[in-house]
């Protein structure tokens, strides 16, 4: 089954825009994806027809909103093939999801002196929370190396797990700079064999591949709605119930308690315990629609399409004189970061923007990774979505050649 690109592109209102008279070539989906009409419509319908605060409302609208909110949880559970919808905690984004684990599980379960193993591939969202935990709670932070090809150095992972001090492995499932997909199943086995729990930052991977919590066997998995063609303001932490049970809450407030006196409060059962305050109701409904949308297309078909794009981009980009790609992992998704002789990344992005091409310049919230690859300034990053076409990649390649001439 392959994707009907022209139909798909028509589903995304923003893609038919002209920007300064040029067709929009949106190659920044890795930062945030565009939204199909069904997502926008679901949010409108929620606000126009079925909106009220959820839980504890004994009237029709509140019951309808609660039903929709919980149906969204069910849809996420289905999307992840979770065994129980209660494993799904709604957060505001991936960043909060990872911080929640660092804070609650990190301070509540990890003991000072234990180690957390991350990698050189990480986004800041999977670095800073562990640094903060290190500084507040006295854990050791270990960093597994990336190879020159931009893959995770599995031997280094093994070496850093060998002494059994690691309580947690927290690794990206797909790099937002190199596109590298890490060997998740193998990492789960290694972590568990070493007595550690494992969290995946699935912010990129969940968008491009089918992920299956029952098959994977991890302990925590985080992703974010806005990269999955859903709204901003919503993310997901998938966490095994046994971990949720042992974790103290993160934010305190309404809906996460079962009884309150000024002396002490009792926590509500998971996942409510971790969802203090009014949740992102409209956004959960939008995320549900996004999941239905990608599921109807089929994650397998999306993956195939993106694999074709990756092959095509590999050919076109490596052809360009003076262009250096960061990373050449075997298993990779549609994210390409590169530098071009004579042209600073930022100048290059400005040029491409004038041609209607939206790419990102900088370090993409992965400064240590850029340092690791000896890139002092930044890179330009082109990242694909399910609506990206080979024609857009060709246009990017042509523009890069001309840009090089411009700055020559």
């Amino acid at each position: 089954m392959s994707l009907d690109l022209s139909r798909i592109r028509a589903d995304f209102p923003i893609l038919s825009q002209q920007i300064r008279g040029k067709d929009l070539v949106f190659l920044d989906s890795g930062a945030s994806a565009q939204k199909p009409r069904v997502v926008i419509d679901a949010m409108i319908r929620c606000m126009e027809q079925r909106y009220a605060n959820v839980h504890r409302g004994a009237y029709w609208l509140s019951e309808a909103a609660t039903e929709d909110y919980e149906a969204a949880r069910g849809a996420v559970a289905g999307f992840l093939n979770a065994s129980d919808p209660r494993e799904v905690i709604f957060t505001k984004n991936s960043t909060e999801a990872i911080n929640l684990v660092a804070h609650s599980w990190g301070r509540g379960v990890l003991r000072p002196g234990q180690a957390v193993l991350i990698s050189e591939l990480e986004h800041h969202a999977n670095i800073i929370p562990w640094q903060m935990l290190r500084d507040a709670h006295g854990i050791e932070l270990r960093v597994a190396r990336a190879t020159d090809a931009g893959e995770l150095d599995i031997e280094d992972v093994a070496a850093k797990l060998a002494d059994g001090k690691a309580g947690l492995v927290a690794i990206t499932h797909m790099s937002n700079v190199l596109g590298t997909v890490t060997p998740a199943e193998r990492l789960v086995a290694m972590a568990h064999a070493a007595g550690a729990r494992i969290l995946f930052d699935g912010s990129q991977a969940a968008v491009h591949r089918r992920v299956d919590m029952q098959a994977l066997g991890a302990d925590f998995y985080a992703f974010t709605g806005h990269k999955l063609y859903g709204p901003t303001g919503i993310g997901v932490l998938w966490a095994r119930l046994e971990h949720q049970e042992r974790m103290p809450p993160f934010l305190g407030g309404g809906d996460m308690i079962s009884s309150v006196t000024f002396e002490r409060s009792e926590w509500a059962p998971p996942p409510a315990k971790f969802e203090a305050g009014t949740p992102a109701i409209v956004e959960a409904v939008g995320l549900h629609a996004a999941i239905d949308y990608v599921s109807a297309l089929g994650m397998a078909a999306i993956e195939t399409h993106e694999r074709d794009l990756v092959d095509h981009a590999m050919r076109r980009l490596t052809d360009i004189e003076g262009l250096s790609l960061l990373g050449r992992a075997q298993d990779r998704g549609g994210v390409f970061a590169f530098t071009l002789d004579n042209a600073h990344a930022h100048d290059l992005a400005t040029l491409l923007d004038r041609a209607g091409i939206a790419v990102r310049a900088g370090r993409h919230c992965a400064e240590p990774l850029h340092t690791r690859f000896g890139v002092e300034g930044g890179t330009v990053r082109a990242s694909f979505g399910l609506y990206t076409t080979q024609g857009e990649i060709d246009f990017l390649a042509e523009a890069l050649v001309k840009a090089r001439e411009f700055f020559a």
């Binding site: 600073h344 930022h346 100048d347 040029l351 004038r354 400064e367 523009a399 001309k402």
Partner: protein
């Protein structure tokens, strides 16, 4: 394809971007400051040597940046040499105005020649995300003159 960008990347800019003037460390500077633009990872270091009258006797910079921030820093070093601190601050203010709006109607006549030389950078005002590249060196200059050590254009 990029013809309309010749306004932003005028020859002066490309030239100063490729071959920045006063691009070196000063030995034994009286003031230095570092400027950071976390947006693109640009980072410059500015060195000042002050004269007996407190004026800027010498100025140089080092670092890494895009064509625009490099050209802006390079032009800065050419223009502020010999100025008093007050004159340099005034020029920095004028330039920020120019970069953000494309003109500086409020600029004093005394700045006219300098502003003229900075004119090629006025195109950035149409590129909101690039204004900070153009102003980074000038923020850093202010910081150096005021004696603070680090600055950020964010």
């Amino acid at each position: 394809m990029f013809d309309d960008l010749r306004d932003l990347y005028q020859e002066v800019i490309l030239d100063h971007g490729r071959k920045p003037r006063n691009f070196r460390r000063l030995d034994d500077p009286d003031r230095t400051a570092r400027g950071d633009n976390p947006m693109c990872g640009d980072r410059i270091e500015l060195f000042l040597k002050l004269g007996a009258d407190g004026g800027i006797a010498d100025v140089a910079f080092q670092g890494r940046g895009c064509a625009i921030s490099t050209a802006s820093a390079s032009l800065l070093t050419e223009l502020v040499k010999g100025k008093t601190a007050a004159q340099a601050h005034a020029l920095a203010d004028g330039f920020r105005q120019l970069a953000m709006t494309g003109t500086c109607p409020a600029c004093e006549a005394a700045l006219a020649d300098d502003m003229e030389r900075l004119q090629p950078l006025s195109g950035v005002h149409e590129f909101p995300s690039r204004v900070k590249c153009a102003t980074l060196a000038w923020h850093t200059l202010n910081a150096a003159l005021d004696g603070s050590k680090e600055t950020s254009s964010e």
